[in-house]
Amino acid sequence: MSEAALALLILAGPFGAALVLGCCPPLRRAGRLAALVSLAGVGVALWGAVRLAAGLWQAGAEALAQGSGLTREVSLTLPWLTQAGPEPLARVGVYVDPLAAAMAALVALVAGLVQLYSLGYLADEPPPALGRYYLYQSLFAFAMLGLVFAPNFLQLFVFWELVGLCSYLLIGFWYQRPAAARAAVKAFWVTKVGDVGLILGIVLLWGATGTFEFDTLFRAAVGGTLPGNLALYMTLIYLGAVGKSAQFPLHVWLPDAMEGPTPVSALIHAATMVTAGVFLVARAYPLFLAVPWVLLLIAYVGAFTAFLAATLALGQSDIKRVLAYSTVSQLGYMMAALGAGALAAGVLHLLFHGFFKALLFLAAGAVIHAVHTNDMGAMGRLGRAMPKTALVFIVGTLALAGIPPFSGFVSKEAILSGVWEAGLRGPFVLLAVTVFLTALYMFRAVFLTFFGARAAGGHPHDPPSVMMSPLWLLAVLSIAGTALGSAALGQTFPEFLGRGRDAQLPHGPGWLTPLSVGLALAGLVLAWLVYQRRTVSADALTRGLGPWPAWVAQGYGLDALYVALYRGAVLALGRLVGWTDRYVVDGLVNVASAFTLRAGADLRQLQTGRAQDYLYGVTAGLLLVLVLWRLWA
């Protein structure tokens, strides 16, 4: 089967499931049957995606062995919006390259595992709600895969909005809870701020180049015929990625999005949708390479986001919010890597992060499922009651903290090296400090949840096998990721992607590995001392940091700032518009009507009702006409 046909098959699976579930209410209300339909759809997608990625990987390896170039991109498109001239305004279809294949494999795999896991996690939901959940899940899988395979900016934008919609629907899955409904709306609005930039950038770029198609634009980038204002357009497009990938200052929606069911957080708000922004930058990388200033902006914002979110993660008591801020932080890493020109390192981290963060979320979901609370203060010593969950959670934590031999180590190392080699000292320092903070906040979560003195109430136990098997698979992938990420991969993967500046994964100076591992271990040890041995008092540590913990508790006041901006600017504008409507627009209408009324009141005086008065008028008019006629003649 050709690559393009495989890609279409991958799209057809979830789309068919969503269509069937959407159009057949009895099936949807059946609950578990709907889940099976959805799983079948995503299973087709997974089979196709793995075949696609494996086939491209093999072809790439062969081409590398022969030292020959290889046509990496295959696209199959049909005219969509027609216009006068030889080329249609926009095309629709699939665009397959190694980046899309790798991303599709990640999406299909995590979506499949999450859907399987949800069977156990949402077992107590009524069947109609479960069916609705699987409808949204299928739609999301389709939208995300469509985004991945989009051959042009326009189709990408359509699917971009579609995943945003699915995110909204799934965050608000428990819409009866006011907090969930509010979080869904907040996520929608905040990402829309970025999306406005994205659509503006896309349209302006189209206005300057006359095309939405990636391959045409990439050829222009190679040929050096890109428009002069490219920096502006790419900054606007990057703004879309800022919203979707929760970069500072639009990261505020992601922690609130944790109001959704935990499997949703694992799939959408950790592994796939939030990485769409990173994917967008990676997809349009030849264009971004042409504007170094924008790349520099991406790197600085990414590094700052990574650091800021890591400090915020330290101050959370809700285990899901810790993971959410951790996701924001790791997205910052990926963006920083892309900004530093280390495309392969960033994409590798995206893939590995997808595995171990989904693992962490699903394991946290198992904990929440067992103890019925998100609050880490109410947990403790769960390692005894839930040994398997604790084991996989710790595997995920080690991978996230970047401790060898787990997968996060390889990709994080590559990112740090790439940022160092790009000469970005400021971002490098921020990211290195974040390594320490990452280990600290993650092991804080581990010690508070699974160890410690106090035992949680109730009788928590490991989840059933339908929830446990995805966890095992993801844990294996988080370790095996390292095996894959060994030296062979390190050289093949960038070649596989074949779009960055780097011919291979960056190797930093020799002191870099000891430094990053040392920082991670330092974080681990500090967390152990503070939260396990309690030789260092957490309160004393908090006091020692001055006002910082208070700022963290308020999320650095960003939410308050946005609320104030909303009240100050949007509501003030609303009042101004309201005032204008009430007093200026309505005033004009009122003046006109008052004039009419007044004129009518005055003119009715002429109508005396006496026939002779009218006759006077007729006579006078006739005389006037006669006189005028005489004068005229």
């Binding site: 109508q607 005396t608 006496r610 026939a611 002779q612 006077y616 006579t619």
Partner: protein
């Protein structure tokens, strides 16, 4: 010769119009209307006599017939109004006032 007739007709028309405009009694107004119509008749007959056109005489005969019916209808209305309103003063017949 013709101008004498026309002067007479114009004078009658003016007197009739004056009557219509100034009389307050509805019967008086009808009388004024009769004067104006007959001024027209004089004009018609005078022009017919001078020009030798028979059509003027025929038209005058029509006018007389119409005048009679007009007076019959008009007086009937006046009588009905008098029965209802107990007055035929035109100043008081102002139900159409705006």
């Amino acid at each position: 010769m013709l101008s004498a007739y026309l002067l007479l007709a114009a004078a009658m028309f003016a007197i009739g119009l004056f009557g219509v405009l100034t009389r307050r009694n509805a019967v008086g107004i009808l009388l004024g209307l009769e004067l104006m119509l007959n001024a027209v008749n004089i004009n018609l007959v005078a022009f017919a006599h001078v020009n030798g056109a028979v059509a003027g005489w025929v038209l005058a005969l029509f006018t007389i017939a119409i005048t009679v019916t007009e007076v019959a209808v008009g007086l009937a209305i006046v009588i009905v109004i008098f029965r209802v309103r107990r007055t035929v003063d035109a100043d008081h017949l102002n139900l159409l006032r705006g």
